[in-house]
């Protein structure tokens, strides 16, 4: 049981190739981190897995527990258990947070079946308490006027409510102060499970102090160029990405 990315190539609509053959396996129960300099293709990888239509997959495959997902639409992938926590979550004016998450849960139910409102709010409030989010966030429009930290917490709240099988967190640590980072990490750690695989995309080792990954990968120029254990993150923090300028190790 894994999210299996194999020789994945993807371009922008204008043909510029961003992913140049990504290979990565994220088994359930493991947390993987991808680090790498700006422009290496980390965010593109997360969006391609989620199904963003602004990218064209030219070859390769992404299999969820053996099943190809590249044929599926964005919303289908989400309903089938892929979750992307956005680096820059959109604002949705006029749609309350509670109604938004409820619509997302409703989308997972068979036609004619409705969410049990009482159970839903109970669940929502317990997750919000864990993320130290004020109750007033349920009535506020999704991400509208939220600070950077509040937006990221809101992403984790959605993730906790939707209980996906595979979570991809795109630079969830960016723009967070240390207190907010700890709270977000608490949420992510609470989601750790043998039934779930996670991919953290980050610039900084700091996040990995609070969410300990099983494996760390380095991405550069559209490929995974190095993989190792959690200690690799410390090495990168200390030495930077200078080694990327040397001839490829592989």
């Amino acid at each position: 049981m894994s999210l299996h990315i194999q020789d994945l190539h993807a371009t922008l609509e204008d043909g510029t190739e961003i992913l140049k053959g990504v290979n990565l396996v994220i088994p359930k129960g493991e947390i993987h981190a991808i680090m790498g300099p700006n422009g290496s293709g980390k965010s593109t990888l997360s969006k391609v897995i989620a199904g963003h239509e602004g990218y064209v997959v030219t070859s390769g495959s992404v299999k969820q527990d053996g099943q190809e997902i590249l044929e599926k639409s964005v919303d289908e992938r989400s309903r089938d258990g892929i979750f992307l926590a956005f680096q820059y979550p959109s604002e949705v004016p006029g749609v309350s947070n509670a109604n938004f998450i409820r619509a997302a849960l409703q989308a997972r139910l068979p036609k004619g079946q409705d969410i049990d409102a009482v159970a839903y709010y109970k669940e929502l409030y317990s997750k919000m308490d864990l993320l130290e989010m004020d109750r007033k966030f349920t009535a506020r429009a999704v991400n509208e006027g939220f600070s950077g930290g509040e937006k990221k917490r809101n992403e984790i709240l959605q993730m906790m409510m939707l209980q996906p099988e595979y979570c991809i967190l795109d630079e969830t640590d960016s723009g967070l102060d240390i207190d907010a980072l700890k709270i977000v990490a608490k949420g992510v750690n609470a989601m750790r499970s043998p039934e779930r695989g996670m991919l953290l995309i980050t610039h900084y080792q700091r996040l990995l102090d609070y969410i300990k990954p099983d494996y760390v990968h380095v991405m550069s120029e559209g490929r995974i160029v190095r993989s190792g254990g959690a200690e690799l993150a410390h090495e990168l923090e200390r030495d930077g990405y200078e080694f990327l300028k040397e001839p490829a190790l592989a």
Binding site: D75, S78, G94, V95, A103, L162
Partner: protein
Amino acid sequence: MLTTTPVTPTYLPEWFAARQQAAWQRFLTLSTPKRGDETWRFSSIKQLDFSAFRRNPINGVNDLIARSVGLEAPAAKLVFVNDELVHVESNLPAAVICLPLSEALVSHSDLVQAHFMKQETRLGSAKFAALHEASLSNGVFVYVPDKLEVAGTIEVHHWISGENSVIFPHTLIVTGTSAKVRVVDIFRSADDVLPGLAIAFNDLSAGQNSKLDYVAIQDFNEMTRVIQINETSVFRDASAIGFILNTGGSWVRNESLSRLEGPGSRSDMLSVAIPAHDQEYDQRTFQHHVSEGAYSDLLYKNSLYDDARTIFSGLIFVDENAHHTDAYQTCRNLLMSDTCEANSMPGLEINADQVKCSHGSTSSQISDEEIFYLRARGIDPINSRQLIARGFSVDVVERLKCDEVEALVLEFIDDKFRRIAT
């Protein structure tokens, strides 16, 4: 309808009969709007051929009364079918007058006369206002005396029934000093496909320091043409809300005029419109600051689907002595298809000093990134777009500041979105 002189029933007061006759003469004399008239710019003039419409007898009354569902516990409820009152219930205090207009014209003739159609229709439909005045046979008259605050909401249903039926609903609401009232008009068709015509008029007069909230929900079938004229006068320290929801109709012309008559008066002119298919909504507004120190705020939001068209033309007009005016006007269009068309003509004319005014209109589409965000949570493309479009309208609805009425308006909005989705 357009060739026969309407006859005023003999039991109605003389002044009213005289006004109806004069109005008929005006209707005959005034020229039909034509292409090139500024007040009809971008309008589909061909829609103004009303020769096929006629008065029709009513049937299926019990069914329509049963379908007249709105608020859970309205303060009063009246149901009209083709302008004929078929049902009434009321829990209003005895001092409040809430009567069918035909009855009020007899029992409170002077009071009706003092407030009935006092303003000049200046936004283009003077001819049709005259036709309305000459032809109207009924409507609602609400008068709330000084210092009386009506708890709850008065709910009025207006049905069009039969093929090519015409109705002339009239709502006249008057609040005394420091009084308060809220009225909701709901306009619907008995049948889904039969063509109809409604030439409606709402006459609102908010007395000193009073609060008058008026909501019109227009949900006729998509074969019905509508002219709806709203004229509001707001006196010293009074506040009036006029809210229009347009979901139905094939062609709808709204003319909304607010006259700020006293210092400290406030007028909120609000509208949500969700045209789809080939519906056309033509909105003309006028914020007339007669008095100094008054406030008006207009917010119109249109979500356009398919080949729908909207026209918004708004003018803030500040009279010479209306110093210290605060006046705002915003029209926002959300374009939900590549083939819809939104025309906006905001305008401003200021003849006084120390005035705060702004006007603006915008048209935008939902960005791909917004849609991606919702879809990445599992919500399908149609629902994603509708959730965003609904959210776009919600802040206008929330300006009503009344939970039960907001919920009612949202029900009609959601129902429209369901119809669009299928």
